[in-house]
Symmetry: D2
Subunit: 383 residues, 4 copies
């Protein structure tokens, strides 16, 4: 079958690879209908991880059940399903408490697995015609038959739940004010989730105009951090007050104010968003941090950053009595509810998709998405 | 009246000061029966804060109502009461949500007030014969008449709730394993609170033998960090596993392993406890941080520490999906429940008290407590 | 001053009564700008309670501060404020935990007080020119100066928070399905609150067309229980499935299907809504019950109903593992957040108001509202 | 193999039945080492259900893995395991949210399954030499190898978690006061769980002296309801105050005060415990109801009781703003934590066991347990 294969930094190709087969009674094989490119795929693509050539990318997958293992109870051939990017068993200590992003079964020696991602276990990516899904009763979310809402549902594997996770970690509640840092796909989904949860005011901080426009389009207040200190801009709009809650949808590759947003040119300041959040959130508030931080970053800006150690204004954090939650999204905790919002037409997260292209055009799509050119902000590959 | 007055670094005296009087209809005057010296009083005593000579110390106060303002509804002369170290109004945005440690009314321009503490508002300390208590209906916790449990109840103003707050911030639940860093008064109270909440295993890390003995006495497992890496010692006892939850009852004045525990001699490593907690707590776990961190520390070990910026292993924190809660204890959220445990004889926190001395002996008590000599670990002053 | 005075069943008059004065240092006097008539005022109006002639009605009050007691800290003359219908002290065991509807201070011998309501304490109602507000720092919610959003803000004293309370008691969360019984003012506010909280599907059950239209107008699915069994109608729309959550915004004066909705003619079946909720909510679900049930109802349909004992399908409730929450709304828990939604123009609850009339027209308004004629569904009196 | 088979009301026999075999790749076969008789087995034994002759009883099972299906990942032959009485899949909507007592997979058409119980699915009971366990990775809780704590661990399948569930449903927290109705095995486990969770005062209501003695032995205050109104006795001990929380560990077969506690002679008043709880719990409190109520009871005391409809003082419940939670325990939510308390020797629930007898003596044990003679209160059968 055809699949997106990592060749070397800044190069993928659509190659022939072996078709997956049922390896365990609880497996299914899914014929992929939509697979998105994720910002975190670019970490591998740019050679910023230990990913080896040959890996098949793709952890944002949906499709139709093609083949069903003997042990599977609730799925049948033809069912339309979405798969969380987390691979999870459903029965380990973490999964049974809902922490499916930290499954201890599927990636021995580590808490957490994913499709098509370095160090996340043996699970082949879904930017391909077919994908093997283990623990299928647990990992497949049923969708309505047909092809309605394909782009909306494609967001259920990762970025809609991941954005929502930010709002959940920060416990964003009706009537509150929130500052979301980052208006990329996850950031916009986080802001969107805050709106869905009934926030009164949502500020969305970025310096790319298209992104800020997307944020404004869902009712958030866009804050361009190249136009002045983001924290001050927000406080100025609130009579000097901070906000109740904050979300970091940027992570360690945060850009310095004024540096270019396009490609690898911008100056990286890995702790800037965290410290701005500590500054802008009012005492007793909470921070949700779905944005990625890593314990080992060979491309880090200094020795500390290389091992994931950041200078945090902990004294201020403590004085304000803030709390914070971090980590990969446990997609399965949210995806059924978000699906139902889409079905009820109360949410249409597909608005963040900029391009849908055939799987065969993946190399070009990666190139443009990585360079943020031609408006490439969120791409769906259709095998 | 007589009161403990700060004279200069490493010197307090018991002086005559004016008696307090009712300044507002909601005030009461309390005749102090017990006032403890707190570890945080030593920050001022050692000249490590901006505290000016003349300040009357004392935020862990209890006593008998002496005089009642016109607006007070539920208190009468002679009532025995405990006052949370936080001064709080009961009606501001933070108080009404239970965050009484972050009251915006009693210390204008700052979220949080306390008795007898630098920068915590105009409230005179209670290491004295009498104390003025504002918003008295809100700030006075009624106690049973008489003098039973005086030492136990004296712990209700600060260290028992503060230790308990650590367990609450970490959401310590029945059957869990917990690592508590610090076995000083707050650390032992945190470990004790974990035991009360039904934790299965509580590890308590320190390097002072008397403290470790106190921890062992309540059923915790003592870990001496001078005898080997604390994290490894805990994991070794758990077949290589980490713990579910962690509590930092040390704060920024953390000692390097092997450095002396007595007085100012020990080497300070302000981020060591935080990073060890991140290491020892298992993925999906939580950290409760009642230990003090400050945004400005003139005596900090380096330029970053001086402004409260610490190097935190944030990559590891994120990878594990940990959450953490910080800040001053909201005493009023817990003190009635902890009082009822004392009355029911299910808790006797007074076991941490090493000395009860007359108020007039305060200078000597401060000196010995600061030097940790003659077994001074927790002192009650009796006016 | 002029005020609405209860004369006898089915008769109120606007009379001269003494102006209120400051009785306690923590009081303020508020010049009332808007006071609503509540459905629960009709219980007294219809003679269905122990209310004696002479009582001044009105617990849904807002206005401008006219006079300020010596003990008040945060309010000044001219401030625009909303008062929760619950009178509360802010410092009793219940208030300090947020249960301001169950204050033990303001109505001795009972948990809970209100303005202008039988058995709810000595607090005179606000359908008048002025009102005395005790514990004013706690009981007054500041509003933006001016007269914007007057009708929206008038909903903050009771029905918007009370409807929201139903959603909170049922823990309505994003993506869930909810059945709200009752589309009167509280029911519509409950449905509206579910929409604000991100529910995917909200069903609203009533048999008055205007009410069902209001529900439809905010995106709820109207269900007319005169047109077939309400439970079955909902399940039919959901492929035979029940809903995640249910809200009872009707209470004990529930109407039998097919009986007239106008006035006192309809047949009362006090347990019908509770048992229908038990039927329609799926296993593991939750019920929020803000609708009023009383322990003593002289007009009850039978001996059991007269003492508040209802036949509940408890076996079914248990088999489904349902949970439920009841009781008067703790307005202060929500009103600041709901106010901020109004200011941000994310909520405009004033849409439920059918009439705004001068205070002097109160008798006519009571008559028409009680008879549900001329479209009287929610009335604001303007003194 | 040998197994306890239901023959007719008041008669079981130990018969030869077919050995179970692996029927699905996710199954294991467990060699039973301990299987308890549960009070709910007596419902079937007494002919009070639709259970047909031939059914093999036993849902409180533990043992050693004998055989392992192809799909099982984490278990191997010889592992010592406890099985929750609930059979659950781990992946349905309810299981994935932790409601394993309401699994929609294992008992088609109903939410919830169990071993050896009428209407709870096809799962053969474990009062036998071997038992088939489906979804074994999910349903088997690993225990330490060996035979230590066998009686304690035998409580993990049902009564320890079920008692704990009562405390959880009532949200029993440190320092609170609780009234537990029923001091049978579940009631004592509920009281024990309250003690473990740090309750300040636990009252335990029954009228069987041995049971009351067991309650007293763990630090609860025994209340004999034959010696005066239980509610009044509790309030008298609390200066007229009610309690914070209440637990119903009795259910619908509640005895009238003064009626005999032995066997079927006592007068049944199915709503008495619920209404006493509503009476004794203070406003804003909560009720946990693990005691069984059924929607169909052929032996009910009247027509309403036969269909599970009970007269509840709902007016009083509402006026107090109480909340309540009901239903079968979701064992898997708690059993790993309770196991760890046993391993750490912080809990030894085996103290409730009165008799351990060979499987072959089951008929005699059922007879004596049903008659509550010779001190039979909790029996373990050892195959």
């Amino acid at each position: 079958m055809r699949a997106v294969v990592f060749k070397e930094p800044f190069a993928v190709a659509v190659d022939d690879v072996p078709e997956p087969s049922l390896k365990h009674p609880n497996d299914v094989i899914v014929k992929v209908t939509s697979a998105c490119i994720c910002g975190s795929d670019l970490h591998m693509y740019e050679g910023r991880t230990a990913a080896e050539p040959g890996i098949v990318f793709g952890h944002e997958n949906m499709g139709l059940i093609e083949e069903v293992g003997d042990g599977v109870k609730t799925l049948k051939v033809g069912d339309r399903v979405s798969m969380p990017f987390n691979v999870a068993c459903g029965f380990c200590k973490n999964c049974q408490r809902g922490f499916t992003g930290f499954c201890t079964t599927v990636n021995p020696g580590f808490a957490g697995g994913a499709y098509g991602y370095v160090a996340m276990g043996p699970w082949v990516g879904g930017q391909a015609e077919y994908i093997q899904v283990p623990h299928a009763d647990f990992n497949c979310l049923p969708l309505p038959a047909g092809d309605e809402h394909e782009a909306d549902f494609a967001m259920l594997a990762d970025i809609f739940p991941t954005g929502y996770h930010g709002a959940e970690l920060a416990d964003v509640s009706p009537g509150e004010s929130v500052a979301v840092f980052g208006a990329g796909p996850v950031g916009v989904m986080a802001a969107y989730s805050c709106v869905i949860r009934g926030a009164a005011e949502v500020y969305c901080v970025d310096h790319v105009q298209e992104r800020l426009d997307k944020a404004a389009g869902i009712g958030a207040v866009p804050i361009n951090f190249d136009e002045g200190d983001a924290v001050q801009q927000i406080k100025d709009r609130r009579n000097g007050e901070g906000v109740d809650k904050g979300i970091d949808a940027v992570g360690y590759q945060a850009a310095a104010p004024g540096s270019s947003a396009a490609g690898g040119e911008q100056e990286e300041v890995p702790n800037i968003v965290l410290n701005q959040l500590i500054d802008v959130v009012s005492p007793t508030g909470a921070l949700g941090i779905p944005g990625l931080y890593v314990p080992s970053d060979p491309g880090g800006v200094d020795e500390n950053a290389k091992k994931g150690a950041l200078s945090i204004n902990f004294g201020q954090l403590f004085e304000k009595g803030l709390r914070l939650g971090t980590g990969q999204c446990n997609v399965k905790k949210y995806n059924a509810y978000l699906r139902d919002l889409i079905i009820a037409e109360k949410a249409n997260p597909g608005f963040v998709v900029s391009h849908q292209v055939p799987l065969e055009d993946a190399a070009d799509a990666y190139d443009k998405f990585d360079k943020r050119i031609d408006g490439y902000t969120k791409v769906i590959l259709n095998p």
